[in-house]
Amino acid sequence: MPRRLERGPLLWALLVGIAVGACLIKLQGPWLDSNLLSMLPADPLPANARALAERHQDRFTDRTLWLVPADNAADAAARGRALRTVLTNSDLFSEVGPKLDPARLQQRYQALRPYRFQLLAPRDRRRLESNPQALIDNALARVFGPFNLSGEQWRDDPLFLFEHYLQALAPFTLELEDGLPIAASDGRYWALTTATVRAGGFALDRQSELLSVTRDVQRRWPGSLVTGAPLYTAAGAAGARREMSTVGVFSLAAVVTLFLALFGGPRPMLLALASVTTGLLCGLTATLWVFGEIHLIGLVFGAGLIGVAVDYSIHFFCQRLDQPGIDPRTLRRHLAAPLALALVSSVLGYLAMGLAAFPGLRQVAVFSAAGLSGAWLTVMLAVPALSGRAAPADRQGLLTLIGGWRRGWPAWCGRHRTVLLLVLAALLATGLWRLTPDDDVRHYQSPPAWLQTQGERIQALLPRGDSRYFIVHGDTPTQWRQREHALTRELRTLQDQRGALDSYRAISALWQPAPRQQALRETLGERVYRHPRFGAYLQQLGLGDAALARHRQALDAAGDSLSLENWLTAVNDDSLRQQWGGCDRHGCTSLVTLAGLRDSDRVAALAAPKQGRYFIDRAGAVSAVLATLREHLAWLLLGAYLLSGLVLTLARGPVKALRLLGVPALASLVALAVLGWLQGGFGLITVLALYLLLGIGIDYAIFFSQPERRRDAAALAVLLSAATTSLSFGLLSLSTTRLVADFGLTLLLGIVAAALIAPLLAAAPRPDTQPGARP
């Protein structure tokens, strides 16, 4: 055997070896990212505000919430404890809680008590300004009201102002039973537990563990409820993985079956698998090295790439079938040019996708370009030398049959040209007209029904905060406070006048800087404690001058102000602490949380980045970003066509280039039109499918554009490729996730169309064609 033949497989083996090594290095760490949000561009926020936003986001992304029911609070608490043991033992969570001390509120009371004359609830602060007598009247109503009072508390807080303030700090408090928070509803009692998944909790094996722990818990305590972003992610990833492995497995099974049936012997099949595997390996390795990890969407697209990557080997073996006696090396020489052209034009198309300002798509671009190159290199380097010298199975009958179709189909179309063109034009016009953009992010994940139901029930049991919020930034502490204060004033207006939201929580509403604390104490003295109305109030309750003197003395004795840090320590509330981003050289930042958002447009309109006021709505932003992205990608798709067209023009001249490009272009239009008729949405994923279709269509076109004597084999290759890929994408189109179904359907339609159009456009009969040239 000549030495020249040995070099190819050796080079290939080296390539595979390097790729495996490089891939293994990267797979040591966390490598898969299935968080939909992380493929989006980051919000434009000041540097220190971003850290605050991310910390807040993490509370949502890492946390799970569990509720176990019982008929009474004590049983619920006991079950809640048992649940916590189960969760802790599962080793999935870094923190299982909350561990609440029943004395915590008492401690807060004691810590804040010395400052009670400087800390007023926002409502009382406003009353003090506008109508101080109302503070007295409400206190009287409270004293003689149905709630009674305990003298202990009243001694310190004769007007209940401190009670109001403490209430404003904790507007929603669950009662504790044996240290566990208990929610009560409809005679049932629910013990609440939160559990934070460990960092790296998104790794695949961890996700399925999380789902199985959830199943165990629900079996052990029927009626228990669970929700949380990690579960949605895990369930989504499980679904996507299931569907993607279906495609992968069916694509491979189809390749294996067809190769075994057609080409005889395992060798061609194994080589085709080697080519596809090398491609996927190269794609994965390149993505991991460029980006450090791979997003689920990259893997999804990668699985679809199998269908394109296998084309090169299909084409090689079909040509070999057609020319049984040919030396594989000679065949490689023949095929090098068309296959290289197919590769370059597809790769350029995918790389155009990488220009999108969207991390997820850059990954797809790199994955596809490297993956296709890997598959192509395998066919060029290893396949010819390893394909053996044994003559392939005799398939002349099949080739003749295919040849008949290849010549007959364009001829038939030619005869019915007018009718066909009219039908096509009508289909395209009406279908494309019916096509409407659809970028609703909810279609991108379809959580299992049980998860959705439980999430809604929990929402009904526990008032939970909205995931949307404001970030306020100021260059100095003073500017920050003024800005946040201005924002809360506008929020309150929306809340009071329009009911646009139920409530908000802002640090500046509960804590004021030292000068304001002192001013407030002064005003409180002037308008209430030293005012005759206070003496009259005490007298109505039968208290004399001694009590009056005592209260005034207490007011005078309170002198210190409470710094923000000390206040946060005294309040000792995790969620309030999370709202404070602190001050550094970039300025000060805080977070204003919202609840019960009904008119989000009006609230969002309060955002004013120039005044350091940012409204963060990641979920809503996703839909908007997806729409922008779809438009960008559509333009980039045109760019990809132009690039491919340029390459094809350089190789084949402008007229042929147009004919070749016409195959994917027309196939895409047909697919879109049919999609329009089937009421499919036209979203980001559809455009992504059109990218794949560009690669596939160009492959088909180039195969068909070879010299006439190789066209029967080319037709066989195209039909084979179309059969395998449309089978796997057809399966995808049955998916319950709208996104995946749209992706599969677009490709199924497009591939069938491309296979039918390719013989018409790419291989249009030319004058030198000799019908019936096959012996």
Binding site: N138, A141, R142, P146, F147, G151, W154, D178, A184, L543
Partner: protein, 196 residues
């Protein structure tokens, strides 16, 4: 042995009672099955802090699904409304002391809703003359820090209740002119309408 059983029953939420005592079911049977309670009240609060008890009189209206109207006539006029978990003092939204859970419990006491009280209190029932009496002790720490016990009783529905605080303070509220109408009057409907 008998007292041991009694302690056990008390701890278990006591459904069965001793001879001479009532079961909770027997009390529940006596309670009127009415959606609305209308009554005058006289409330006396005995606080160690004050030289003499605070006395207030007025009328109240409790409509199970709507809320509570509490109108003080003497020593001066004021009104507290509790509608859909929100408290209004003299027509203005105000802070609800003790939160919504506490308000629900108060309404359960006023209406003698044993089922709603059972999970939060150990309940002991007995008979005094021809009146029933319930003694409630909080089950959980949160509540027992602010309230040491509740006693209530009456012929049919509750006619009085007494709240005891850990520091020895207590308050007694007596109801009179009790009515159990089926519907609210127009005026009462208006008063239940959420203030602007």
């Amino acid at each position: 042995m008998k007292s041991l059983v009694a302690v056990f029953i008390l701890l278990a939420g006591s459904v069965v009672a001793h001879a001479g005592e009532l079961t909770l079911e027997q009390v529940a049977e006596r309670l009127p099955d009415a959606p609305i309670l209308r009554a005058d009240f006289r409330q006396q609060q005995h606080l160690s802090l004050l030289p003499r008890p605070l006395t207030a009189t007025g009328d109240l209206l409790l409509a199970g699904d709507r809320g509570l109207l509490w109108r003080v006539r003497k020593p001066f006029e004021s009104e507290i409304k509790l509608i859909d978990g929100t408290l209004y003092s003299n027509g203005q939204a105000d802070t609800l002391p003790g939160g919504e859970a506490f308000a629900r419990r108060l309404m359960a006491v006023l209406s003698g809703d044993i089922e709603a009280l059972k999970p939060h209190f150990h309940i002991q029932a007995r008979e005094e003359g021809d009146e029933w009496r319930l003694a409630l002790t909080p089950r959980n720490d949160t509540l027992s820090r602010v309230l040491s016990g509740i006693r209530l009783g009456g012929h049919q529905g509750p006619e009085f209740f007494r709240l005891d605080y850990p520091n020895g303070d207590y308050s007694v509220t007596r109801l009179s002119h009790i009515e159990y109408p089926d519907t609210l009057s127009d005026d009462e409907e208006r008063r239940f309408a959420t203030p602007p």
